[in-house]
């Protein structure tokens, strides 16, 4: 099994619902965003940019690309970052030593560090005392490695997990579930009959920074209509 995602940019309306759902469901501390949506080339999101005398605008959601040849996994000195049997690149919160080499190596800027204690950060940001959000339980892989916890330890690196706590139960990641435009597809890239495999095969599916040979498992269907 090789879990993968396809994002149809013709359908993406740049609403950032996936960004917010991801932030909440995965208990990301203030200042941490696993999932981002921006308007390439534009200083501000949702502002078109002038190109060749015409207004142009498209939206690009970026979270962990789940590389098959993942530089973050290769540089990790202690094997805290690893690829599991379903192709998800995960971080073991209990093994990470916080050297941040993976953040240096990642060409997509998806890795985020816990620069301070998450509770303290929430307090500083002015959250109501005792307010917690997100999937409330710890989640461990089959070998007992801690790959999700709502209480983020200080000094470790984190990133998108394809919502390991949901995908382990057979549900799609929350960004896929939440997308109001149904722009995201999720499934097994090893299964030729899955929707994601079909889309990758039949449409002009592209990957970010293909030239680096990282072989992401997140594919993009470029916009086909006029970008106005």
């Amino acid at each position: 099994m090789k879990l993968g995602m396809v994002i149809d940019l013709d359908r993406c309306i740049g609403c950032r619902t996936c960004v917010v759902a991801c932030k909440g469901h995965n208990s990301q501390p203030p200042g941490t965003w696993w999932n981002r949506v921006f308007t390439p080339g534009s200083k501000e999101h949702q502002i078109p940019l002038a190109k060749d005398g015409e207004a142009q605008m498209y939206f690009l959601p970026v979270s962990c690309q789940m590389c098959e040849n993942a530089p973050c996994e290769k540089v990790c000195p202690v094997g805290a970052t690893y690829t599991d049997e379903q192709g998800r690149v995960l971080v073991d919160y209990e093994r990470c030593i916080g050297c941040r080499y993976c953040m240096v190596a990642c060409p997509y800027g998806v890795r985020q560090f816990n620069w301070e204690d998450a509770r303290k950060a929430k307090e500083k940001a002015g959250y109501m005392p005792g307010y917690d959000y997100g999937y409330p339980f710890e989640h461990r892989d089959k070998r007992g490695r801690l790959v999700y916890t709502p209480d983020r330890p200080k000094g470790v690196v984190e990133k998108c997990t394809f919502c390991v706590q949901y995908t382990d139960q057979g549900d799609p990641p929350i960004c896929v579930q939440a997308c109001p435009a149904r722009a995201r597809f999720f499934g097994d890239l090893d299964d030729p009959r899955s929707e994601v495999s079909r889309l990758v095969r039949q449409r002009q599916a592209l990957r970010l920074k293909e030239e680096l040979g990282t072989k992401p498992k997140v594919f993009y269907l470029p916009p086909t209509g006029p970008r106005k």
């Binding site: 990470c96 240096v104 985020q112 620069w115 940001a125």
Partner: protein
């Protein structure tokens, strides 16, 4: 002879200040530094690279004496080994405050990932620490035997002075022979930590490891020169004039090689004219031009100055030259970071829809009312606290050197 004793107190102060501030950082998290998600390595890693550099140089000097029969340098082999040992300890120790979870450092031993250049570095730096320690230890053994003191030398009690001397000489030679390749390796591998990363255009070049070695020979030799100058003092400078002359020439020559590599690197970045390469050069020559100027001008001046005989004959001039060189090399290490993190590695766009000079924003990793949460590039400046923590390796190296020089004889009489 004992001028270095005066540096003991400053060394202790530096160490205490850094330990206290590190304690505060441990409590608060790395949020107290200037680093954030878009700029994840800063002053600490630059300082690490700086100390690895001068560490490699030290043993290169003392090994060359044995390997290439550089008789002139022979009086300075003890100093060179000591400088290498103190520097590698300093390099190793500055990694600790950079770790988010230093309490889990044992994972390096329990779960090493041998594909990671960081693990390669752990191995060679550890090996080098042992070798430089042995090198200092073996050279001091005969003295300790004669004076009936020292440590870890109970096994020599039953031996005669001659036996100890011959064992020390034989093993010193062996350590030197093994030490030279390891000295070159620590720098090669430290460079590989950076040079393997295709996501950072500023580092992704095969010239980085050889250039690290060139800088190491220059700055490592300079440190040996400085310590030797402080031990001999002006009075005895004349006696060792030949050795100082050779050290200064080695420094200048290594700098010439370094500048050759720098020129090749810049030329190859510029010639093809790809947008990402040009973006890196624009950072180097515009945004960070002042720092880059320090990196180029000071060592260039020192190189020319040390090639002239006048500088090499005056202890004061040599001392000043070396300090200018250290400043330049430190700027060089800082400049590893700025263009690497603030280039546009994230000019993420799809084929056929490229946009120029746009950086896909990264979440900073901290929230502050009124400040943006996402940034395309991060104007990293070390915080005051970060600078204070960064004194740790300087304090440690100073203490090791002053304690050892104060206790034992590092400048044996010529025979």
């Amino acid at each position: 002879m004992r001028k270095l004793n005066a540096a003991f107190v400053p060394g202790l102060v530096l160490l205490l200040v850094s330990l206290l501030t590190w304690g505060y950082q441990l409590k608060s998290g790395l949020i107290v530094t200037g680093m954030r998600n878009p700029f994840s390595w800063g002053l600490y890693i630059a300082t690490f690279a700086f100390f690895v550099g001068i560490a490699a140089g030290g043993l290169i000097v003392s090994s060359s004496v044995y390997l290439f029969n550089l008789e002139q340098l022979k009086p300075f082999t003890r100093i060179a080994s000591l400088s290498a040992f103190a520097s590698i300890m300093a390099a190793a120790v500055i990694i600790l405050p950079d770790l988010g979870r230093v309490d889990r450092i044992y994972n390096l031993l329990l779960h090493p990932n041998f594909r990671s250049p960081l693990i390669w570095d752990v191995i060679v730096v550890s090996a080098y620490t042992v070798l430089t320690f042995l090198s200092v230890y073996l050279q001091l053994l005969p003295d300790w035997k004669k004076e009936g003191r020292g440590f870890l030398n109970g096994w020599t009690r039953k031996l005669t002075q001659e036996e100890v001397e011959s064992i020390a000489a034989r093993w010193s030679r062996r350590v030197a022979v093994v030490g030279l390749p390891v000295a070159i390796l620590i720098h090669t591998i430290t460079a590989l930590i950076f040079a393997t990363q295709a996501s950072r255009g500023w580092w992704y070049t095969a010239v980085l490891p050889p250039d690290f070695i060139a800088v190491a020979v220059a700055s490592g030799t300079a440190l040996v020169l400085v310590i030797a100058l402080l031990i001999t003092g002006k009075e005895e400078f004349g006696r060792y004039a030949g050795a100082f002359d050779t050290l200064a020439r080695i420094t200048a020559g290594a700098l010439a090689v370094h500048f050759f590599f720098v020129a090749m690197d810049l030329l190859i970045h510029w010639w093809w004219g790809g947008p990402e390469a040009l973006a890196v050069l624009s950072l180097v020559f515009n945004r960070y031009a002042p720092l880059y100027l320090v990196e180029i001008v000071l060592p260039a001046f020192v190189m020319i100055y040390f090639f002239t005989g006048k500088a090499r004959r005056s202890p004061g001039n040599l001392l000043w030259g070396c300090f200018l060189l250290f400043t330049g090399v430190f700027a060089h290490r800082l400049m590893l970071m700025f263009p690497a993190f603030n280039q546009y590695p994230l000019s993420l766009s799809l084929p056929g829809m490229e946009v120029e000079s746009w950086h896909y924003p990264v979440a900073i990793g901290g929230f502050k009312a009124g400040a943006p949460v996402f940034a395309g590039s991060w104007p990293y400046v070390p915080t005051l606290l970060e600078v204070a923590v960064d004194l740790l390796p300087f304090g440690l190296a100073l203490l090791i050197i002053t304690l050892m020089v104060g206790s034992y004889n590092f400048l044996p009489e010529k025979r």
